[in-house]
Amino acid sequence: MKYRCKGGRFLLISIWNYLRGYVMIEVSGFSVERFLNLVAHRDIYIWDIERQGNKLSMKISIEGYKMLKPCARKTGCKVRIKDKRGLPFIKHKYRKRKMIPIGMVIFIALIYMISSFVWLIEIEGNKKIDSQEIVDRLDQDGYKIGGLKKKMDLREAEQMLMRDFPDVLWTGISFEGTKLIVKITEVVPEPKLIDYNSPTDIVANSDALILDIVTRKGTPMVRKGDTVRKGDILVSGEIPLADEWDEESKVSYTRSSADILAKTHYTVETQIPLKKNVKKYTGAIKKKYSIRIIDKEIKLHNSKIDFRNYDYTIKSRQLQATSKFPLPFYIVLKEYIEYIPKSQIISDELAQDTLRVMLHDLLAEETHINAEIIKQEVKFNKKGGIMGGRLQAIVKEELGEEKSIIINDGRNKVNDNEQSEH
């Protein structure tokens, strides 16, 4: 245990010795022991004395070495330097290269300078609000990429965001390295409350033939086999209360509920041109790299794009020192893809096929999810390079939408509570 302790101390001592610098010397002569005694007597610190044949090798501090000459002369020993070790010697070696420390200072200053700006804005936690909107709003007040961190009052920015975006419940803005992180909590929208007590009718939402009606609540106004027009009341929320003693009939209102199956008729139309412009890519691609520093773009090579028609894509990547220290440098890659514009004439069959698909999609949008097509008919007509399509379909589907009843003052509304009082 104690031994291990000493080992630790030796390591510390050896580091200390390295920082102070020491000289490895070789002493030879008639009486090296006398030399050692004399050196020790003069309080010169020596260590790691080792005999190598008739010579002694040892380590001595730089100050100690300067005081060694008289000792050597007195005892008739010869002292030879084997090696010089430690920081002072390294410093001495590079003393003329002044640019090294200057460069180091410039480097540190540059790092400090660069890290005192914001180089990336990250927005977290927004779902409904567009990130770009927040960035633009922050930009207006000077919270932007390339802005000085010191000038930004984050608390103020938080207040500003909460004031200007009513959907923002809470914001937390903080710096993380050269990143500006905006954390946002959005307001949870209030759930739409369905009032089951407010009375409603069920109204037809299209012309239809009633196939089946099952009423759970309310008074059915139509029967199986009836035809109805759009807007007709199918199930009424009015329930007449038969009163045996009182001749005057009273009415109760309810939220009507029913399953109504009906046959409805739909017509959808659309058209497509038979002539189409197609981009035929030649496969020739030209890449252009450039470096962007904040807003300035530096092109790395100046070749011209000799494509007559081309699409291009831009990919940009920000350089980062670490993930927390993005830097204001971007590598931008522009890819130019050549194409030859060609007009293509589609055959009638192909046009009709595509039209059929389009018409069915249109129909599906209009009908109920569980709709079942009973009968359909598609007609095409070609006219001046345009193919038109018309789909007529008879569909079996659920009918009806709820419509709240506005009660006139003239009628008297009887609620369940009042009924019991009666």
């Binding site: 031994y3 050692l36 005694n37 020790a40 020596i46 260590w47 790691d48 004395i49 080792e50 005999r51």
Partner: protein
Amino acid sequence: MIRSLDLPEEVMLDLPIVNAFGNKKIEIYNFKGLIEYSLEKIRINTSIGVLIVEGSKLEIKIMTTEDLHIIGIITQISYLI
């Protein structure tokens, strides 16, 4: 008289102190000088005579006026009075 002062004996009598750590290391305090140093034998002058340390691969780790630390494989420590 020394006993009554309650001081460490070796300080008053100027006796050498030898600390031996197994056979690997010896620390000697209160010595007068080095007489002989070789890889097998080290002779040290003290107030009570010559202290002889014998062994192999002997090395002086530290040498100041007060301390002398010897490392190596030590086989014998003896006094020549």
